[in-house]
């Protein structure tokens, strides 16, 4: 066991994956000498060489498009998108090519790409640096979408993503990069399957679902609720696509109440998918309509306004109150 930051855990996981398989290559902007703007690839170019840690010209469509070509030839490219908001120039390659090639070639061509995306807000950044674009990719068949929330998962699941023969979008909550945690480097990777959610805190009264940076907030909310005599079950989704319905259903059958929280806008977001699917699957177990606590349907706001947009502890607790039919900010509204 060692203690390391979330960012360091990904760096260590990347290193292991590169040692394990010589076909693993990293490609992205500024990932070489600089070690990436977040230093996630620190020292890797020095140790593995410029042909395995490739500083790419400033062109995201080219980063993804050439990775497709490398994958055709048996490589396992790990593409770094510098910030969430810069994935859009590569969107065409990801959704039209990366996602569809296995299907299009009737299984003959594999696209074992990992696309690392530092995502989300809360760091007071400039425009295009705080986005949560995960729903676009969940909506695209052929892609797997992962978001980790702690160093141990980051260490293990980045390796699992790289080992996976399907293309994986790997969303890293950037505001957690400097948070430390225990990492067991000898851990059995098989105990980190790519599609399993985890119950972070067990509880009986309400199920609270989160991923990425909001997992910590959800846990904080559960602790706060406990002081009010409430037992909140917190689930870290980890896999956004596919969703782990076994874990979700078991929880909702027990609690009868569901709250989903994410930073991304509400409309067409992950919360909508979880709410609809769980309503379909567990309708007779639900005591209240599922509740979403999300970012608003607005472009990500300037730094000094982001705390109004991002779900925080109190907004999550307000959502929990809503799901429980307790007094909340919308109590006087019908069909809130």
């Amino acid at each position: 066991m060692s203690t390391m930051t979330f960012g360091r855990a990904i760096n260590t996981g990347l290193r292991k994956a590169m040692e394990h398989d010589s076909k693993v290559v990293l490609i992205g902007e500024d990932i070489g000498k600089l070690g990436g703007v977040f230093r996630i690839t620190d020292e890797l170019q020095k140790d593995f060489g410029a042909h395995r840690v490739i500083d790419a010209p400033l062109a995201e469509s080219a980063i993804l498009g050439t990775a497709v070509g490398m994958a055709y030839r048996g490589y396992r490219p790990v593409c770094e998108i510098q910030f969430d908001g810069f994935i859009y120039p590569a969107f065409n390659q990801i959704v039209s090519q990366v996602a569809k090639l296995h299907y299009r070639t009737q299984g003959r061509v594999k696209m074992p790409l990992t696309i690392r995306v530092p995502f989300g807000g809360g760091i007071g950044a400039a425009e295009h640096h705080s986005e949560s674009p995960e729903a676009y990719f969940m909506h695209t068949s052929g892609l797997r979408v992962i978001s980790v929330s702690n160093p141990q998962d980051a260490f293990a699941m980045i390796q699992q993503a790289i080992a996976c023969d399907d293309p994986v979008l790997f969303f890293e909550p950037k505001r957690r990069y400097h948070v430390k945690g225990e990492v067991d480097e000898e851990v059995d990777l098989a105990s980190f399957p790519l599609e399993q959610a985890r119950v972070e805190i067990p509880g009986d009264d309400v199920t609270l679902v989160a991923y990425g940076a909001l997992v910590q907030l959800a846990k904080d909310a559960a602790l706060a609720a406990r002081e009010e005599g409430l037992s909140v079950e917190v689930i870290d989704l980890r896999s956004l696509s596919p969703l782990d319905f076994a874990t979700l259903e078991a929880s909702v059958r027990k609690t009868g109440r569901l709250v989903i929280t994410h930073e991304a806008a509400m409309t067409g977001g992950l919360g909508a998918e979880v709410a609809a699917s769980i309503t379909e699957r567990c309708f007779y177990h639900l005591e209240h309509a599922p509740v979403r606590v999300t970012g608003f349907d607005i472009p990500y706001p300037p730094a000094k306004m982001e705390h109004h947009h991002l779900p925080d502890l109190d907004r999550i607790l307000d959502g929990v109150d809503r799901a429980l039919g307790r007094t909340n900010s919308l109590s006087d509204l019908e069909g809130n």
């Binding site: 000498k33 010209p57 908001g85 472009p299 000094k304 109004h308 307000d318």
Partner: protein, 365 residues
């Protein structure tokens, strides 16, 4: 081959501060002593704006700042060549150009302080708000120029971007459109040698200016630290666009003397000798030498310039620290031009949520 000096580089003012004669002279024939002094003042003031903003960032008043240190001549030379009705589409580093357009100092830092999604009104100063997505503005400029041509007007659109941006599809696609439609657009690339940690050699194996002719666009390389040279080549390109000659591409060869942004650490990737070398080509120093030699750098003039720089720095600082905090519900403003029922509901819910704290006696849980 790539070069930072040499025969293919337009230069009207040498690093030693002497005038170099050349075919571009005629484009700056009107720049007399007083105008030279004006360009000097512009560069000094713009450098001061940059230093003050950098200081404000270091003091925690700004979240981030992208310094233009070293690129004053490229921005002032080109910016002062423009007509009022020309329209600029820039990236985040063109505060010198914004200064030429008449941007308000507080407007320059609103975004970097995190108070507002943008600073100025684009139509008031004929300059779009700065672009962070690398290269996107090259297409916007081209489209604007196409529309100008449809209108039969003779104003020109100018796209500013860096050397790194030339790798993006958008910049290359902009050149395709500009050439196909003979759009009155000027592509002004400030090749400051670095795209964050990546040297220009990673973006281009030949001079960046060599690329445009392949698209059917005439191009020129200019010493980007020579304010007269930058002005001359920009005037020529503007004239070509105005008179129906279509797009042009300018590569201004300059150097980013500071970090990429205040969040960057250039010591990780940049040889300090390189910086020293470029300091010898400082754009302000060389004009100062010329003015000195012509007896135009007299005490009262420099006093005036310094006083102006002080005043501007004061305005910038005052504007920054007195910016009002945004309102609680401002996040919902301007998402749509007309009411959007779903967003209105979210605004209503959030305002009730905020009110619930007051009802409970203020303060969150």
């Amino acid at each position: 081959m790539r070069s930072v000096s040499g025969e293919n580089l337009v230069q009207l003012l040498t690093p030693e501060g002497t005038r170099a004669a050349g075919p571009y002279d005629e484009w700056v024939a009107d720049i007399d002593g007083a105008r030279l002094q004006g360009l000097y003042e512009d560069m000094v003031v713009v450098r001061r704006v940059d230093q003050e903003a950098t200081a404000l960032q270091r003091q925690g008043e700004l979240a981030l700042w992208p310094p233009l240190l070293g690129q004053e001549a490229a921005q002032i030379g080109s910016g002062r060549a423009l007509r009022k009705d020309d329209f600029v589409f820039s990236s985040y580093r063109e505060n010198g150009v914004a200064y030429c357009r008449g941007a308000d100092y507080t407007d320059m830092i609103r975004v970097w302080r995190g108070n507002a999604p943008s600073g100025w009104d684009p139509y008031e100063i004929n300059m779009a708000t700065p672009q962070v997505i690398i290269g996107a503005q090259a297409l916007h400029a081209t489209g604007y120029a196409m529309a100008t041509k449809f209108d039969g007007a003779d104003s020109v659109a100018v796209a500013y971007f860096g050397d790194g941006a030339t790798s993006q599809g958008d910049v290359n696609e902009a050149m395709v459109f500009a050439a196909s439609f003979q759009a009155p657009v000027v592509f002004f690339c400030q090749n400051n040698q670095w795209a964050i940690s990546e040297p220009v050699t990673l973006q281009a194996q030949r001079d960046i200016a060599d690329r445009a002719p392949g698209f059917g666009i005439p191009s020129v390389r200019v010493d980007g630290n020579d304010v007269l040279g930058c002005m001359a080549v920009t005037r020529e390109a503007l004239d070509r666009a105005r008179s129906g000659g279509g797009p042009s591409f300018i590569e201004a060869v300059t150097y980013r003397m500071g970090p990429h942004t205040t969040a960057d650490d250039p010591t990780r990737y940049r040889d300090p000798n390189e910086l020293e070398d470029w300091k010898g080509r400082d754009p302000i120093d060389r004009l100062a030498k010329l003015l000195e030699a012509e007896g135009l750098l007299a005490g009262d003039f420099t006093d005036r310039v310094n006083a102006k720089a002080d005043e501007v720095a004061g305005l910038l600082r005052h504007g920054c620290v007195t910016l009002p905090e945004p309102g609680e519900l401002d996040v919902f403003n301007n998402v749509y031009t007309t009411p959007h029922p779903v967003l209105e509901r979210q605004r209503e819910h959030y305002s009730r949520y905020l009110a619930s704290f007051e009802a409970a006696g203020g303060g969150k849980r």
